[in-house]
């Protein structure tokens, strides 16, 4: 712990701390451009100069390159240092254009801040300025190369941190240029971070171009709700419209970066066709009418029928408050549910995953970044949880061995081992790797159940062979992490992965376990929904008239299946359909009573991410129809009005609390705290959450109630039916994609252009068998009513016997919950005519 003096104040810092960081701990912000905590120091910009008065080397030095040493005396405001920095800024400004008024970075520009605070006000150099041509970098990032100050942050981030290669540095000397070799969309789904990382306005937010200045925005720290990782974000809104989103800083989750799905996925909150009015039988009405009608319908059902004919459907995009209120409402009223509306089987897999998530194994993204061996099984990180890719990349940069076992064509921006395996065989491969790595280890400390589990592993081991280097890497590793998905896996795989993690967790090797769950609040949904039922069973019950009333709260899967005629028929047999949502869907249009709910930006709420960290979000703005949609493109109305148009929405928990008879305050902010208190008090394992609702920057780690008391699970000894391998059938699976499959972000207009065309990925052998060429158009006949036109994409790096298509919310799918469909070759047709 060296102790040094900075500006006459002493501080002790851990070894290897740079002086710039030590000063920051004291609250002294030394100017910097090239230095960034996630990228490290290169000493390129020379603006962090300080004067070292006492130390191994005295005089002007760069604080980002200088390790804090014991007994150093450093001055940041010494005249020499100040003059040096002022001169550096003057050089940097020599070619900087005079375009701050028309630059979107203006107002949160590091260069502006440093220029002003550095004291450089007047330009002395009268010569001409260097100019650069700009490039088209796609619909999300705007390029303006004149503003560059050559700090190299962009390429260090893009090439080193994320591993993508299509943005680089070109030219030499004073002609250095940061861009692509030619115009074109940036390939990385993390390109949006260039906007945050550029200290000036070379890369700016294109969808938010010219929409406002930082000081005019209502800004708040938010949690990203586009996957289960729960990254930190900062959201800005103005005139009742969400304008932009930036990455927040959270060391345990996203570090400093987010993916483009999270950055630009907020558009659903601004949509002109977002339902903002109460509706009864499709006709707009007042809140009182709808409220009374809903109560009336529920009373009638409760009186005439059994209360168990009422079902409540929730999803992973509901806040924790909504889920808990829904659970208690169902229990109190004797209703069926709450049922988790998740894609087929994902609910059971998620519950299995949480059962196996032992507290000592829980890995955060930080643990993933710092691990030395990662086995990702049944997950496609870029598409299911994009920011996880960045965590894997950091581990890989530090020398970790990364293996992905998944049938899909997984593509990651770095070197990794991919074993394309069918879901049935993934468990065997995992068992084989773990068995081989544990071979020769003393396992006498294991309990009988543990030994039985090991025997089971050995049994499974025989079924697969795995490359030796994976086993060697696992044997050598000290911090291995098993990452397990919950979509492209069998029901028992999350348990197997969890137990394998426990198996390899030994005194000399601390293992981690990291699940990827479906949806932002998949953890909460798995904990608070009824275990013995799911969306598919619910539909069966509706079909068999066991359920007559359905209350759907922000549904996910059901809403889309309704686009099929079969589903429409099922819903017709309901007596009453109540829908609460902030998205328009076939389900919401069919509702008898529709209640518009608030988005997380309007209501705030708590989300539990995939490792059990509760993160709360304060409301960002009041909501209401954006000013630009209030009927005119011109200025806002000239007269004051007391109520906000289109702001009738309520948080989804409010009607539930009302039906339950909770008396809540009419005041919005008080009510929010009351429901939070109710949530925390009624669920003992949430008691770590603060009643104030402020979970801070990093969130609160919740102690997961361990349902199995640290005992190994027993697994089925035989693997699931793998099907007849000689059968000509091909399984058609829907898979997640970075853009276009996640429900909320797929409605965001900013992402329209980056959503790829629907392509059916298939193995070359399958394509050869079907006589199809890459890029060929074909039609998949799902059943007699459903046909899906798409385009062949031959992928060598995937399992044989599968076709993968993106799970678009509007995909016509005949079975509920996007369950996979076995296709006979006859069901695969060329655009014109049959295949053969």
């Amino acid at each position: 712990m060296p102790t040094l003096t900075i500006d006459s104040r002493q501080i002790s810092v851990p070894g290897n701390t740079k002086v710039i960081d030590a000063a920051e701990r004291l609250g002294i912000m030394i100017p910097r451009f090239c230095y960034h905590p996630a990228l490290g120091a290169v000493g390129a910009c020379r603006v962090c100069a300080v004067n070292v008065k006492e130390g191994p080397m005295t005089g002007i030095q760069m604080s980002c390159m200088l390790d804090a040493g014991d007994g150093m005396v450093i001055s940041t405001h010494d005249k020499d240092a100040v003059d040096f920095r002022m001169a550096v800024i003057e050089w940097l400004m020599m070619n900087h254009p005079h375009d701050c008024p028309v630059c979107d970075e203006g107002g949160h520009c590091l260069l502006q801040d440093m220029t002003v605070s550095g004291g450089h006000g007047m330009r002395r150099y009268p010569g001409p300025k260097r100019t650069h041509q700009d490039q088209y970098l796609g619909p999300l990032v705007q390029h303006e190369m004149n503003r560059c100050i050559q700090c190299y942050r962009c390429v260090r981030y893009y090439r080193e941190y994320t591993g993508y290669k299509d943005l680089g540095v070109l030219g030499i000397g004073s002609r250095v240029y940061f861009g692509r070799t030619g115009d074109g969309r940036l390939e990385s789904p993390f390109a949006g971070n260039l906007i945050d990382i550029c200290p000036t306005g070379v890369f700016t937010d294109k969808p938010a171009r010219f929409k406002g200045r930082k000081w005019d925005f209502e800004r708040a720290a938010t949690v990203c709700t586009h996957c289960s990782l729960g990254c930190s974000t900062i959201t800005s809104s103005r005139y009742r419209e969400i304008i932009r989103q930036e990455a927040g800083i959270s060391p345990d989750t996203n570090d400093c970066f987010i993916c483009d799905r999270g950055r630009y996925g907020f558009g659903y909150a601004n949509l002109p066709d977002r339902p903002r009015q109460y509706r009864v039988n499709g006709n707009p009405c007042s809140r009182q009418t709808a409220w009374a009608k809903a109560l009336d319908l529920l009373d009638t059902t409760a009186n005439t029928n059994n209360p168990s004919t009422v079902a409540l459907l929730v999803s992973a995009r509901c806040t924790l408050e909504t889920l808990v209120t829904a659970k208690h409402l169902c229990h109190r009223k004797g209703w069926h549910g709450p049922v988790w509306d998740a894609p087929s089987g994902n609910d059971i897999k998620s519950r299995n995953a949480l059962d196996a998530l032992a507290p000592e194994l829980v890995a955060t993204m930080k643990d993933v970044r710092e691990s030395d061996f990662i086995l990702a099984i049944g997950t496609d990180p870029v598409n299911e949880a994009p920011v996880l890719t960045l965590a894997l990349r950091q581990a890989q940069r530090n020398g970790a061995h990364i293996t992905v076992i998944d049938p899909r064509p997984v593509s990651l921006p770095f070197d990794f081992e991919h074993l394309p395996t069918s879901p049935e065989e993934m468990g065997d491969q995992l068992a084989a790797i773990v068995c081989a790595a544990l071979g020769g280890t003393d396992l006498s400390h294991l309990s009988p159940a543990g030994k039985a589990f090991y025997d089971d592993l050995v049994l499974r081991n025989a079924a697969a062979t795995v490359p030796d280097e994976i086993v060697v890497a696992l044997k050598k590793s000290r911090h291995p992490v098993i990452v397990c998905g919950t979509h492209m896996v069998n029901e028992d795989l999350p348990v197997l992965a969890g137990e394998c993690a426990r198996m390899i967790n030994q005194p000399e090797r601390s293992a981690g376990l990291f699940y990827v769950l479906p949806g932002a609040n998949g953890f909460g949904a798995a904990m608070f929904t009824e275990t013995h039922t799911n969306a598919g069973l619910l539909l069966d019950k509706i079909k068999s008239n066991d359920i007559k009333t359905l209350i759907a709260i922000e549904p996910e899967g059901c809403a889309h299946v309704h686009s099929s005629p079969a589903m429409a028929g099922i819903l017709k047999s309901l007596d009453c359909l109540l829908v609460m949502d902030y998205l328009e869907s076939p389900l919401s249009r069919a509702a008898d009573v529709f209640i518009p709910t608030a988005t997380v930006f309007e209501s705030g709420g708590i989300f539990i991410n995939q490792n059990g960290t509760g993160r709360s979000m304060q409301p960002l703005y009041m909501g209401g129809t954006p000013i630009f949609q209030t009927g005119r493109t011109g200025p806002p109305p000239r007269l004051f009005e007391s109520d906000i148009p289109g702001a009738e929405h309520v948080p989804a928990w409010l009607p539930l609390a009302d039906w339950m008879g909770l008396s809540l305050s009419p005041d919005n902010s008080k009510r929010r705290l009351e429901i939070l208190k109710y949530t925390i008090e009624n669920e003992p394992w949430l008691s770590a959450l603060p009643i104030s609702g402020d979970t801070g920057e990093t969130g609160i780690k919740l102690r997961i109630p361990n349902r199995r008391l640290n005992e190994f699970a027993s697994l089925p000894h035989t693997r699931n039916n793998a099907g007849n391998s000689n059968s000509p059938e091909i399984s058609l699976y829907t898979v997640e994609q970075t853009f276009g499959t996640e429900l909320l972000s797929s409605g965001s207009p900013a992402l329209d252009e980056v959503i790829p065309q629907i392509r059916a990925a298939m193995h070359p052998a399958d394509a050869e068998f079907l006589n199809l060429a890459d890029g060929e158009n074909l039609t998949l006949v799902l059943d007699e009513n459903h046909e899906l036109p798409c385009n062949v994409k031959i992928e060598t790096d995937m399992a044989q016997g599968f076709i993968f298509i993106p799970r678009r919310p509007d995909l016509p799918w005949p079975v509920p919950g996007f369950a996979p469909i076995p296709l006979h070759p006859d069901q695969i047709r060329r655009e014109k005519g049959d295949l053969r």
Partner: protein, 185 residues
Amino acid sequence: MTEIQQKNISILTAITAIGQGFATTFKHLFRKPITEQYPEEKRELPARSRARIVLTRDPDGRERCVACYLCSAVCPVSCISMQSAEKPDGRRYAAWFRINFGRCIYCGLCEEACPTSAIQLTPDFENCRRDILTLVYEKEDLQVDHGGKDAAYNFYEYAGVATDEGPKGSHEKESPPVNVRSNMP
């Protein structure tokens, strides 16, 4: 000095003072009056006096305001609001611009902050209304067809961004764009 002497002096002072006063009065009786009969007679105010705000145009007659939000940020009474947008030619402009003169204190900070010389205060101070809403000026009410006090300035000549004013490298004090593919020193 005796008491009588003192009394005489004070009487003398009083008489002199009265005399001087009357003299001034008499002088002014025969002078031309300086009162101007406002509003019948109106005086020409200096160009830099601060009253009603206008949005001026550049020498080509195009609107100067780029909606950078600096005037609204600096306004101490928050009477300026606007929305920036982009024209097809790449110029940034104000989709709408509103000044509430009912609130404006004519401090001139907006004019000082304006980087394009668009917003300017004029000597036109006669701005009284019975209906306060008529004091809320929209962009159409604010725009004038001249350059005001800084007629020659054209922001886009200096900004360095590519617009219909010219591509990169064609503006004042700019080198032609760098050829990144050249290896010449």
